[in-house]
Symmetry: C2
Subunit: 433 residues, 2 copies
């Protein structure tokens, strides 16, 4: 279990001025990512204020534990994540000490790069991407559109429902969202037709990166699952609702989802999130207890993630008119998740399926119980029947070409310094001719 | 389109005696794979009779086109597959000439390794694995168990149904099948329990390897899809039916499938299959025509794969008693597939999803219309209600510990030399304690 220690002390400040009071990246956060700058090849870095500390350069200069050099000098975090939780904690302590000790400025400063000069890449070579469905309010809202009286299927409160997604089309924030084409059959049509999606949507999720993996045929005990998680990011599971409705039976979503998945590029570690843990929401009266392989008192007590989630939309017309983005939702991860990240990991490996360092898992769409934090336009517009109105005079049921969507997340707690995830942005481009 | 040429001439023989008359690997086949021998690291080879030609060694000795050396000297076929169909054809012509010309024996023989001395590996680093559902008789048989009057869903004859599988747990033939545990809820139980699957099954499929890929946001035209296929193998989509029944709604199969997928290690190229193409089966009266993006006359005329499929089972008791394996089914791919391999590829990329060299696609279970070639025990035993009897006096509704299952495939046609795929084998081990 990750504990609160001196690295979380709110009194700690960095000699990098932009870190102090930074809404996302104070020295209490220290998320990992992969960046390139000045035409050089991608490398691992740590976000600190408006800067990035180049860990390849720092390792080469002998500033880090020499046994880490191989894993921190590549162009992806897989090897580092595979080293596990103890090394992750040790790196955090070392970085925090370096970045707070003014006397070390001269040796470290040469390895700093301004974020505005850098291009962010995927943090890992993602071997497999799995998407879960643990947002119970989202599952209920979507289920209600099909089954008003019985929105959740009988397995939902026993099984952390998940399915495999497409690894090749996961991209870092900023990737253009080319409107996908596909088969769609409106209810009033007799036959389907192939063409650009008319119901393009987003889904607000958290991404979970696997740290240490498990061998094929081995399981991961629930009490050990937290140590298999390397960190978290924001994830937008772009969805073409018309393709989805027509294709998804009986084997689940496919082309409706696999044209693009966007993630925020910085991986926020479990250590950074330690001050923002809370109990899992109490299961409503009458819900079954988790089966023993998913039950753990410690996880129940602090498996909840007090991560605040924000989604905004701007249309081309809004940007031209200088209007500020429209807030679509504001919510919190902990209140949305029926299953914890540890339960997701343990369930995924419960049949011996091998998880590998750098694998990506989506939580599923995270919607609040009320209407303020719905995680998709499908829910916000009631399946398209209740379009929203924008300050530009436009309305939106689903995404139009030129629309830009931004996910953001941050954590706040009494006695802790605020940390953030940065953003996950995508702008919709017209379908290919 | 791949044409029949002199490399298919039945009169061609190799100076490697074991190739001539070999049921799988005559010089008319020349499948590619990755092997290791004598403690050396894995390398690319070609099966020829009982031998393997080491292509890394052959390239280093200057026996192949020098521009191919990089792609043929690695430990996986991804780079080679990415070079596309023209290089695949050229390599076949060059290998066929070398292996038929007795005068070249001395320079080539040093690069031959006996198959019995070699360990086979996965042919590619599989980026993404997708499983389709194009076996219409299987889809009908399974659908009938749920919906006797209406077994096929309305989308089936418009959409080549597919879903993403797990890449990390794809293994070459021979990998042990550890019985998976998971949640299962028999109809008579009130709540599910976690434990070893009681309904372990196999699924007979073909695997399709992607050659040249497509960029994210780009599609693959149906007339060009065949040139994006690097080759074919056998694929066993091991399935835990009890886990599947309980977990699969609403997002499709997950832990019921991702504990293991086995493939035969030799990739049979489209060139080798050229003499064994036939028309796609005529669509029954009343079926819709494929939508235009999936329609191609040439594909309709020879998109069918005349690949004969065989499945056998041996139990521990049968092996101890020296009984020969029990034949479970005998069928043919062409007759089973409602959608062609080209249609599968074009549909997969029809929303801009990027396919990458070495990606693996399963066809879905290939069952015949009659009862002789059913591709799973779920179908053979009528959902477990009609166990089969074995010569050992045992019965089987699903797989028991110690059972060994073997998939095999070969092609025969008038005027052509028989070629084969080798086998895809797996033996069931007890669940982990």
């Amino acid at each position: 279990m990750t504990m609160i220690d001196e690295t979380h002390d709110p009194a700690r400040t960095s000699w990098i001025d932009s870190a102090n009071g930074h809404p996302d990246f104070p020295v209490q956060n220290l998320p990992l990512g992969v960046f390139s700058a000045a035409g050089e090849d991608p490398r691992i870095g740590v976000a600190i204020g408006e800067m990035i500390l180049d860990l390849r350069g720092a390792a080469k200069a002998g500033l880090l534990d020499p046994s880490w050099s191989g894993a921190l000098s590549g162009s992806a975090l897989n090897d580092w994540f595979g080293r596990g939780a103890a090394d992750s904690r040790a790196l955090r302590r070392m970085l925090s000490a370096m970045l707070c000790d003014e006397s070390r400025r001269a040796e470290i400063e040469p390895h700093l790069v301004a974020q505005r000069e850098a291009t962010m890449h995927l943090p890992c070579a993602i071997g497999d991407y799995t998407d879960f469905y643990v947002g119970i309010h989202h599952a209920t809202n979507v289920g209600r559109q099909f089954r008003p009286d019985n929105p959740l299927l009988p397995n939902y409160k026993y099984v952390p429902i998940g399915y495999h997604g497409r690894a090749s089309s996961v991209r870092p924030s900023g990737e253009a969202v080319v409107r996908p084409s596909g088969q769609r059959k409106p209810p009033e049509a007799d036959t389907p037709a192939y063409g650009p999606s008319r119901r393009l949507d987003y889904e607000l999720e958290l991404g979970i990166f696997i740290g240490r993996g498990n061998r094929l045929g081995q399981t991961i005990l629930i009490g050990e699952a937290a140590d298999h998680i390397a960190g978290y990011c924001l994830l937008n599971d772009w969805s073409a609702r018309d393709l989805q409705a027509w294709e998804y039976q009986p084997l689940g979503p496919f082309l409706a989802k696999n044209f693009l998945t966007s993630i925020s590029p910085w991986v926020v570690t479990p250590e950074a999130l330690a001050p923002f843990r809370k109990p899992m929401p109490a299961r409503p009266e009458g819900d079954p207890a988790p089966l023993p392989y998913l039950a753990d008192d410690a996880d129940q007590a602090n498996g909840g993630l007090a991560i605040k989630l924000d989604v905004t939309l701007s249309t081309a017309k809004m940007r031209e008119a200088g209007l500020k983005p429209h807030r679509l939702s504001q919510g919190e991860a902990a209140a949305a998740m029926y299953w914890s990240a540890a339960q997701i990991v343990t369930h995924h490996a419960s049949n011996g399926c091998n998880l590998q360092p750098g694998d990506l898992i989506g939580t599923g769409t995270l919607s609040t119980a009320d209407d303020n934090g719905l995680g998709s336009l499908l829910e916000i517009s009631r399946g398209g029947k209740a379009p929203i109105s924008l300050a530009s005079g436009e309305t939106r049921a689903f995404l139009e070409d030129g629309d830009e969507l931004e996910l953001a997340a941050h954590c706040e707690a009494p006695g802790a310094v605020r940390i953030g995830f940065g953003t996950c942005v995508g702008r919709v481009l017209p379908a290919q001719p």
